[in-house]
Symmetry: C2
Subunit: 338 residues, 2 copies
């Protein structure tokens, strides 16, 4: 069974294709009675317009791409949830692409999208993206990008983040208040602005409380889990280990927990841990994980709303705008000795 199209409806109703098309789109050019006839038959035959024909003709597609580093991660899956909720409301479709933190994959995906498959893109940068030519090229093709969380400052467009500096500052001050003297920072990337901002917050907190930052307490992590594990293990088994670590992302906190399990380091007694996280089981961990919780769902919704607003108005250029949502510090067992 081939799906019904305008031609079939038109023939059945003894009308022209254009009349049927217009009737279905509720054009004022078509009389009430005809409209009703058309709509009735369309419903009866379960007519669904061919999206490819429509996209081709209108030169836009009610489809967006979401490009993220990974999906098995609560922050990103919640963000997608937010994006999808708005998309479903506004009748947009959502394509998913994963970069797995790989710059080359990111470039490839973006290149593919230049053909016009989507009207716009919502993305979070891969951690090893240092060059932004591919993004410039995409916007030059009139495909707007809205960034969330891992944003790119180089591109003039809308960006949605949380107050990462404040978050880093709050997390670190929380550790200071809880009597930590040698606070470490675990980063994931040199280039990612969220990571930088969080570190700046961390440094500012130390500075504010007259603590001299200790270069050797900053762990530069990568995408390699085993690598990270070893780096963290090394620093935690050094002569002068930190008494707290603020991790830029959840995954690193998990690794810290694992290393502590191996080294029999007690959290929070010997080491306090806090990180940016949206883990739904944070409160059930041993010990429960103190975290800066980002409004991931809302960030997704916000990014999607901005993009759809522009797409609906056929604006392919989105002016600079930085939406900063508030994250909240949830203090739990990993930083507080009961």
């Amino acid at each position: 069974m081939d799906s019904t199209n305008l031609k079939m409806l038109a023939k059945e109703l003894n009308l022209s294709i254009s009349t049927v098309s217009k009737a279905l789109r509720d054009s004022h050019e078509i009389g009430e009675s005809t409209k009703n006839r058309v709509i009735a038959l369309a419903k009866k035959l379960n007519y669904q317009p061919n999206p490819h024909a429509s996209s081709l003709r209108k030169q836009k597609s009610k489809t967006i791409a979401v490009i993220i580093p990974e999906i098995a991660n609560n922050f990103f899956s919640l963000a997608i949830n937010g994006i999808e909720s708005i998309a479903q409301e506004r009748d947009y479709h959502v394509l998913i692409y994963l970069t797995h933190e790989d710059y080359n994959k990111e470039v490839n995906i973006i290149k593919h999208l230049q053909g016009g498959r989507v009207g716009g893109v919502i993305m979070s940068l891969s951690s090893d993206t240092k060059n932004f030519d591919h993004l410039h090229e995409l916007t030059a093709h009139n495909i707007p990008i809205v960034f969330f969380d891992r944003i790119c400052h180089e591109i003039e467009t809308a960006k949605v983040t949380t107050d990462d500096f404040q978050g880093g500052l709050a997390a670190t001050e929380h550790l200071i208040i809880n009597h930590c003297k040698n606070i470490g920072f675990a980063s994931i990337s040199d280039t990612l602005s969220i990571d930088n901002k969080r570190m700046q917050g961390y440094l500012e907190a130390l500075n504010k409380h007259n603590i001299k930052p200790n270069k050797s307490s900053i762990v530069k992590c990568t995408n390699s889990e085993t690598n990270n594990y070893n780096k963290i293990k090394k620093i935690l088994s050094s002569k002068n280990p930190p008494d707290a670590i603020f991790a830029s992302i959840e995954k690193l906190a998990i690794t810290i927990y694992e290393v502590c399990n191996e080294l029999k380091i007690k959290i929070p007694e010997q080491l306090k841990v806090i990180c940016f996280s949206n883990l739904s089981t944070a409160h059930l961990m041993k010990p429960s994980l103190s975290a800066i919780k980002q409004p991931a769902f809302e960030m997704g919704k916000e990014a999607a709303s901005i993009l759809f607003k522009h797409l609906d108005k056929n604006r392919t250029f989105i002016p600079n705008e930085h939406i900063i949502l508030k994250s909240t510090l949830v203090a739990r067992g990993s930083t507080i000795i009961k």
Copy 2:
């Protein structure tokens, strides 16, 4: 800047559109030197074929839809990961739709897809889907569906699951071996076959060990978290509470943990807990969570491979086939008293 198309390439090269098209698709009808000229210019001008035009003309779209109940859930996000990995390899695009366990949303999504936006669908049923007309209709429109995990037996097609019966049996036997006498089961749906299979495994284990099943130890949960919380709280605070619960899905185990925290019930001493789960932090919970771990990533890969294989061959009908992957029991602190 409008993106380059065949017409522009043709004009620039003094060739016809068809020649350019054929050259780019490496047709034998075109001479080597012309091919090279075309390919060179295409690369130079960063030509990307318009996917809508191509899909319209070819009547197929190298795009699939993935329909799942939710995404903020390790099982599903890992499955998507698997699907996406194969899709990226084979140059397919992946649309995501979330039903949020809502039958009406599921129907709506499926109806939308009848227009031919996608070549095929990979899906996991919503927990309250009892009627399958919408799915029959979609396949009648020549859009194949491959099911994974929450499959629909009514539709003749390929299905990918784990050995849910075996899993339920193994989980329950594990509890029996660990001296549980009154084992409860927490289900999510009457209709979902995975839930039924898991419960059958549970009942079979009881039967095998001559334990009389206790109707009141079976908690029928729903999509309402507070509802589930109250039901579980009620059963755990009854006169004769179960000494173990096997939860059909991860989310219910989380709720059980939370109820136990409130009621000060000690896991595993007073209550042992095991569930189907892919939680990445299961080993870091308090207590660490015993689980039947499904190969979610592989399930996604498998489902995608089957679908793409058929789409590539223009086969819109997929014969019945049931791929059953093995899940593994990981015994941890929630069922074992150290």
